[in-house]
Symmetry: C2
Subunit: 217 residues, 2 copies
């Protein structure tokens, strides 16, 4: 029993900090997106594409979460947007207190969209609220079409699903229709996009949707 | 401090059960492999290929670990080998007690190779010893070449790395040489294989090595 009690306390404490984060983001009129996926599904590539297309219209800041290295922050920094790297040193997900501390490092106060790129992990980040407005999950075609069934919590808790690497569809064993059916069986209200960060296909539709929800915040 | 103490107790308990598993496997002369990777890197496909090629020479049994569904056990069952599915119901990794309980479900005692397919997760399973002889990590070319640096514990704790989906190399942004350099920087003694479960390329070399270590157990 003691372990379950401790886990509940950890989650309760995280939720209290996440609520404080959410209040702060709302007060400052910042829309926040928690971007989650398996390792290598294309989170950082999507962040790069999003910044390249939207930064002239929307003020974007990025928090990068990784177990080790600041490789992702360096990729994002090249686009001249404010970025803070969180290194979790082994932990498998971001928690609300890490996001709170990282956010304090930003010096400018005019951010409209804060993108939080979580640790690559299709399981644990589903349980930890960071105070974001929406979770967006990426599933790449190379991972197959069964992932929503095998890792349901992440798809259930997300507002949008980005099916990435659609340029690789001719070469992989993945049915887009089956993947969509599986995802919608878990979460019927998922907004679904199909993209390739390599060919740029589908990115404009994603950007259009993202910009519209950021503007209507 | 109490949370850290509890975590240590959980790990200590897991290690005690893992040691008992290891003793039992050794007494029964069973070689055990803990197969780990991100979701969708090809763990189940590699298990299928391995069974298809080796089951006439080696008695294989499989324990499948998933957060939800018995889809993987069904795929393996089609090859007519004993298989037990563990559903973790949300937990992000297998633990030694789950493997102990699953192993008790096998009725025949002549297994030579026990393959344990872990939950798709490049972080958490690195911390939980199951009592296996070796960990084998799969990294697919579609995930890029930086994963050993970003998720070092899994590569440090593995005996072999299988670089899978090499048939997709012409279409993805991944340098095999860089991936190998990154992996060997983390773990210089890693044995590295390059495979495609789609075209069968490189599978024979993997099988040859696996059969040799199983036979020399």
């Amino acid at each position: 029993m003691s372990i379950i009690t401790i886990e509940r306390k950890v989650l309760e404490k995280n939720e209290a900090i996440a609520a404080a984060n959410r209040k702060k983001f709302k007060e400052r009129n910042i829309f926040t997106m928690n971007l989650v996926s398996s390792p290598g599904s294309g989170k950082t590539s999507l962040v790069e594409r999003t910044i390249a297309k939207s930064k002239s219209k929307i003020k974007i800041a990025v928090i990068e979460g990784d177990v080790q290295t600041d490789l992702d922050a360096k990729r994002v920094e090249a686009f001249n947007v404010p970025v803070v790297q969180i290194i979790t040193s082994g932990a498998c997900h971001l928690e609300a207190n890490l996001v709170r501390d990282a956010f304090e490092k930003f010096s400018d106060n005019d951010t409209e969209l804060l993108i939080i790129e979580n640790v690559g992990n299709l399981v644990c980040p589903a349980t930890y609220d960071l105070g974001e407005d929406i979770k967006v999950v990426i599933a790449s075609t190379t991972e197959g079409d069964d992932k929503p069934l095998k890792y349901p919590a992440m798809f259930r808790n997300s507002s949008a699903l980005i099916i990435n690497k659609i340029d690789l569809l001719p070469y992989v064993n993945c049915s887009i229709e089956q993947l969509k059916r599986n995802a919608l069986a878990i979460n019927p209200s998922l907004k679904i996009f199909q993209t390739s960060c390599t060919t740029d296909e589908g990115i404009d539709k994603w950007i259009e949707w993202l910009e519209s929800i950021v503007k209507s915040r």
